[in-house]
Symmetry: D3
Subunit: 229 residues, 6 copies
């Protein structure tokens, strides 16, 4: 697993994450203004959009801009990315500004939503550095780091970070979004076939939390690189 920060020249923040054969290109832009319901509140906002490039998979996927609407799956994923990142950004301190995160999957082999969250955190970190300078803050406007991982039960055995083939065969699937201090932001678990037991859920969750903590180290290295730049 590698995260390369600052891969885009014009976006305020960016990172490319490669997790197995899943590659996601993440950018974070900083704009003036907030959605209507926040105007006048003095608070900022963070939104996220997600897309899978048509050529990311062996069978070409239809381009959503051509079909004229985003799929339910896309909307579900981008809402998850947004909630996850908002949980660690101090939106109260950045003023009426919006951080717009974009996660575009260049290559997909399972786990694109969790890779997007993990990579996008680094892009947001780069924006946070710029906001700190811009506003003369003492600290970064971040409460903690956040990473996401997934696991599934394949052939009766819990495994971390399933690739596409394993994922298709999984009996249960669990995604969790975890902060740097090991607390949970979001847990989603789905039976792909048979319903699952509470014990299976607990086992997967142990695995995913450990996995997310491991990702935190890679994020930290990428963020350190941004600090040095």
């Amino acid at each position: 697993m590698t995260i390369t920060p600052a891969v885009a020249k014009f976006a305020a923040g960016s990172a490319r994450i490669e997790l197995g054969d899943t590659h996601v290109f993440c950018t974070a832009s900083l704009g003036e203004g907030v959605p209507g319901w926040l105007r006048g509140s003095g608070r900022g906002w963070l939104t996220a959009e997600y897309s899978m490039l048509p050529g990311a998979t062996p069978t070409r996927g239809a381009r959503e801009a051509v079909r004229g609407r985003q799929s339910g799956r896309t909307m579900e994923i981008q809402r998850l990315i947004g909630r996850s990142l908002r949980s660690v950004v101090d939106l109260g301190i950045i003023g009426e500004r919006t951080i717009a995160v974009d996660c575009d999957v260049l290559q997909a082999d399972g786990g694109t939503r969790t890779a997007s969250i993990t990579g996008a955190y680094v892009a947001v970190y780069q924006v946070a550095l710029k906001i700190k300078d811009l506003l003369g803050l003492n600290e970064l406007p971040l409460f903690d780091s956040v990473a996401a991982a997934s696991a599934g039960v394949v052939d009766g055995e819990a495994r971390l970070d399933l690739d596409y083939e394993e994922d298709s065969a999984a009996e249960v699937d669990l995604n969790a979004v975890v902060t740097g201090d090991g607390r949970l932001v979001e847990v989603q678990s789905t039976a792909e076939g048979e319903p699952f037991s509470r014990a299976a859920l607990d086992g997967l969750l142990d695995l995913v939390v450990a996995g997310a903590v491991a990702l935190g180290a890679v994020q930290a290295a990428a963020c350190a690189e941004l600090e040095r730049a």
Copy 2:
């Protein structure tokens, strides 16, 4: 909490669920044919659509048919309803037919997605009775019942079935879809503000599973009424 079965004359199955001040009108229609990827497989399918009527809330919501697109929230919910019900329907035995579930919220006071799943199960049960007759099956094409409940942490305390006001104040929110035998179909937990601990998750899950089991008794009574009719 009440579930009134067979509330619609023309739909193959239907039920109205009232859970506190949340009222959902659920129908299930049976149609010939399946989506493209299942054609020729001999298997059936179940889809679900969800909508909140504009007058369901104190402030009128925009009608999605007028805006020309369903929101991300709507898509997320209807995908969840579909997955939940598919987990208990024996799609392999019903032939190339599609059960189309519709959950329209007449009145909303929190928990509309879990109420939809719980009520829609009864509508699907009514369709299952008709399929059994139609195909001369020995048993209903159902593996088990399924119900959903939600809970949240408000003021540090875990509570079942939050109403809108409590929900807005909740720190953590957990929805679970649970089969009649107590196994899990789906778990979704979200930090509304602060990230939460594993212990908080475990506590909420205990509460929700117990809640869903209690709902099962109400469902069973409604289904028994359908059997007698």
Copy 3:
């Protein structure tokens, strides 16, 4: 025929009308503001939206929010509902507020557009009571009541309130919107097959006006119930 007023807890006004096997759930919401062309005029507005729930008919209808557009039939009906109700609401006295009427057909067996108008009047009446209180008016901001009925010629004979089967066989079809004092707001008559004579039109119109007057009594009872509440 029954009209149950105040069936929705959160909408400002509501009513459920059952006319044979046609059931319509009507709500009326009161919002601040008016469309652009009325801003600054001091006048209010009333809009209406109509929808048939997918499970309302034996063969499930496609959900318009999923198709991404309302059908021509839907638009035609909701425009008619809006015009009909605007003819009796004193929009000059309610200030720059908009009454948004929603008619959602739970069950359809012919005559949904006329039932919608008749039921929605009661929902609007409930809103009118609230506006009277809100603005301290001496009278309700209503000029009169309004109801609608339909009739058709089946097997050469004029009949009121056709059900779906009769409607499909009708040679001519007439809808009229009639005020409490028996005047006309809208008349629409269509030859379903052969063109019809002026005499046929006159006969149908006599029937429909009488029918609408009869509906007025049921509306009055429902409104009286609202007054008492």
Copy 4:
């Protein structure tokens, strides 16, 4: 009032109608095939579409293709045009073919829907001549001619064919579609302000039927010109 037939070189039928300052360009195309629900029936179909060119009015109207949807008014009008023309075309004899009528308003000064019907009949007549040849029919596949006219009450007086200014001031408005033998295909009457009496309706209807009959003579002349060509 003038109707110029055969104004388009490539469309199977066409006519330009000028009624006061309202000018409509009507074409009728003949295509193989029918909508799904008629396939295999051996019967034909007729559809109609309507549009107002943006420059047809003093204040430019938005182009519906740019907004991405047709307005309710447009849909209502094109449905009326289609029903009106279908009432006189012998769809049972033309085989599984579709006549597609297009009415595009070049200049609008009131009465565009009735002018569209009246002009489009001549375009359809030209197509009917071609179908007669194509299929070797003994007669044209038309039962009768059809024309439409409108009238309104302005300053308490009933007048035929209101222009835009009169129309805006009208108290009642009535459109009728009338066959050559004086029978009715469609009657639509709307109170623009005050509800109207049965007597007012009767008066307007007399006027409009007489007006439509007069239009029939102009149509006949245009059709005779097509016969000679």
Copy 5:
């Protein structure tokens, strides 16, 4: 080739151009206000929209308002029309007003985009006369005239103004937009089959520039007629 100016009573400017069997109805409307990015600049704007009426061709084309989106071809053409006309209008002098040009093809036999530009110039000229009066300018707010022509290589030979049949057989196709003083505003050349040589391009360009200059005389006559009116 003929251009008839002032063919629409209500639009500020208009012209009908007939170039062979291609007929385009052009209007130009003058409105207050400009797009967002020009607000406060004191400058005006010109936009253009293009459409082919469904009956303009032997096989009926789908109406874009019904499909809910403009095709790529339509967008490309209307962008070209807009750029071409903006090159000769003095937008700095007309204040924050927008000239909206509409080109609707009544009949299509090749060359509709170039005919649209040539005809629309005359409609814009009529608007320019009105602006001159409105603002009390000494001169028309036009830098020059502009016309467009096209040519193609058919059977190895360069020909001006191909009709639809020739156009379908053309090996190369070139459109150019040329000002009255013979300078170029836009050149677009496309190989329909084999790539083409620089010499072929040069030959076509010579032909088209000469053709456009010839069109200028017809435009001038139409504009003179407007001056006299």
Copy 6:
């Protein structure tokens, strides 16, 4: 300028082109089947889609999938990419298959449409190698290579490959698509302000053809790398 071939694991062909600060990610997918109008012809087809990622520019661009429609600019560019590549692919020999090209701009600093064409050719080359193997052809199904370049006049001086800043200041802009043997596939030249002379056009065209020939060498190196792999 660099072109890296085979940058995507799952797409049949791919390349990443970096031209100054413009970076485009190009993939080419091979699918069975062709559009309707080619079915049964035995011929193949090539389509292209283009998109600019939101974070590609200093000010974030709106995502077209969210707005629900592609812009006119996007459609124009993707139509150009498609035509350009079809001019060199032997569609008659590949059977009823479709090559779907996707150009997604990761970073934009001017010249994205020409860079897309130049890079996409290499992705198509990789697909052509696979088709050759798949069908056992003796040669690649390509007639020639194709590349595109652009130039503009800035401060009176013609320059190749303008970056965004220069492009914004350009007086004239010319894009040309050129085959390996120096012939032209497409020429587009636009006056950004003042109309331009024929001499200016000739000068820009000389520059661009030379530029495109130079790009051919870089393409050839990337293709040779694909041959060796």
